[in-house]
């Protein structure tokens, strides 16, 4: 289940930020490593909300800055 979440999150990041899936490593940061801008990260958070049917507040969204952040945040939300 957990691996499934990680794979899904990485797939969304790959698609939304236009990065090859192999490069979507846990430690990678959206802005520094993938050249994302503020609009990209908003778009990414919206895609995560839609995929996992959850709501992510603006404050929570701003704290999601890396692949790892995204995976652990989604896990915590989905496992509640």
């Amino acid at each position: 289940m957990s691996d499934n979440i990680a794979d899904k999150v990485k797939g969304i990041i790959s698609e939304k930020l236009g990065v090859d899936i192999e490069k979507v490593k846990d430690e990678a940061r959206f802005i520094d490593d993938f050249g994302a801008d503020s609009l990209d990260t908003v778009d990414l958070v919206m895609a995560l909300e839609e995929q996992f049917e959850i709501e992510i507040s603006d404050k929570e969204g701003q704290e999601i800055q890396s692949v790892e952040d995204a995976i652990s945040f989604i896990r915590s939300k989905c496992e509640k």
């Binding site: 939304k16 930020l17 236009g18 609009l39 990209d40 908003v42 778009d43 919206m46 909300e49 839609e50 709501e55």
Partner: protein, 420 residues
């Protein structure tokens, strides 16, 4: 005032996704107008359009449009189709001109004026539906930058590093012609050496067709014979056919172009603008606004009407519009002329804000190739002494070519090119 020449051309239109194939098909008398199959038209009065050839549209082009040839998959999320068409046409025009090899300093003297009539209408429609059905939280952060009209100019500047003047024209169906005229003036007064200028449009969608249908502007009686629907000056015309695409020209200060040995398509020698001050959608019945626009283009070039060889007319195939323009041209010619006038909208439909730019390119190619494109479907013309080039292209030398565009709001623009 500095002299301005055209050194690069780029085009995406219903006939093809590049200049030379579009021109070849146009001169061959082919039509780019087809039944719409890419979205539901069952409740629309008009079910035909001139759509850019692509996988989703059935068109017999050698060059179906693939947006990924011009923009990355990620960038594609950030722009509605009118911007993608502009980037594609700009890429062709810039490569054609050779200014892609400019230095950083030269790029600071290179600007962009690309306009659009409506901009991101499909994005506005889709986002309105999302807002209504799913709420504000589902509205994309890219919605505004994907639909703003000046983001065509903005994205071109970013894609090619062009750091000179950057703005946009919005004058409905006169946009493309105004953009060329304004860009030429920026070069004439020395504010830039090179300008990437033109228009772009991608509003062939349900709300676009429904809107122009409601204004009673579109052809509705030839949904089963789409290639016959656009018939400027034919007595049985019944409205225009919407189309999409982009036309982009590289304008350059003459000495700048000569210094780098650029190929020169022609010189921009005159530009005229006027307003009807009359009605939101209807032109003046006697074409007085159109007449004054052409008169000013000639005056600004110190050229007399008997020197004109070819007029690429606005000629949309509406009853009042074609009639007014014909009267205006007859008046400017003062009863006799050897000039030919055709409407290429008969083949490609009406590209709205891109129309003037695409048609300016056709006017320049008529100078280059000594042939003027035909007015298709013109079997029963209005009475006139003007040669309307019915049905077949005509070989003739062209030294001066005039291109007209008129827009909703009663705005008129005419641009005059001279062989170089």
């Amino acid at each position: 005032m500095k002299r301005v020449v055209v050194t690069g051309l780029g085009m995406v239109c219903p006939l093809a996704t590049n200049v030379e194939e579009s021109w070849r098909r146009l001169i061959n008398g082919e039509s780019g107008i087809k039944k719409i199959t890419s979205f539901d038209v069952s409740d629309l009065a008009c079910r035909i359009a001139g759509q850019v050839p692509s996988e989703r549209v059935e068109q017999k082009s050698d060059s179906p449009f693939n947006p990924l040839n011009y923009v990355g998959a990620k960038e594609l999320n950030r722009m509605d189709t009118f911007i993608v068409y502009a980037l594609a046409a700009a890429a062709e025009a810039i490569k054609d001109s050779g200014i892609n090899e400019a230095t950083d300093e030269e790029k600071e003297r290179t600007g962009v004026i690309v306009g659009s009539g409506i901009g991101g209408l499909p994005a506005i429609y889709d986002t309105a539906v999302t807002l209504k059905e799913s709420g504000a939280r589902r509205v994309s952060p890219f919605f505004i930058p994907s639909s703003l009209i000046n983001l065509a100019s903005g994205n071109i500047s970013m894609a090619f590093g062009l750091k000179g003047p950057n703005h946009s024209v919005v004058t409905a169906c006169a946009t493309g012609t105004h953009a060329i005229g304004d860009a030429a003036r920026i070069i004439q007064v020395g504010s830039a050496d090179v300008m990437v200028a033109g228009g772009t449009e991608a509003a062939v969608c349900r709300i676009g067709i429904a809107g122009f249908s409601a204004a009673r502007a579109l052809s509705t009686s030839r949904n089963d014979t789409p290639e016959e629907a656009s018939r400027p000056w034919d007595k049985s015309r019944d409205g225009f056919v919407m189309a999409e695409g982009s036309g982009i020209l590289v304008l350059e200060e003459l000495e700048h172009a000569q210094k780098r040995g650029a190929k020169i398509y022609g010189e921009v020698v005159g530009c005229g603008m006027s307003s009807d001050a009359y009605h939101i959608t209807s032109p003046l019945p006697d074409g007085n606004g159109a007449y004054r626009s052409m008169r000013e283009a000639l005056r600004s070039a110190s050229v007399s009407s008997d020197q004109i060889d070819y007029i690429n007319a606005h000629g949309t195939s509406t009853i009042p519009g074609d009639f007014g323009e014909l009267r205006a041209v007859e008046r400017i010619m003062d009863g006799k002329t050897t000039a030919s006038m055709s409407s290429t909208k008969s083949a490609i439909g009406h590209l709205l804000g891109a129309a003037g730019a695409v048609e300016a390119i056709f006017a320049l190619l008529s100078i280059r190739d000594k042939v003027v494109p035909p007015t298709l479907n013109l079997h029963d013309p209005e009475d006139t002494f003007i040669d309307l080039v019915p049905l077949k292209a005509k070989e003739r030398s062209v030294k001066y070519a005039l291109s007209n565009s008129f827009g909703f709001g009663g705005t008129n623009a005419s641009i005059l090119f001279k062989a170089f």
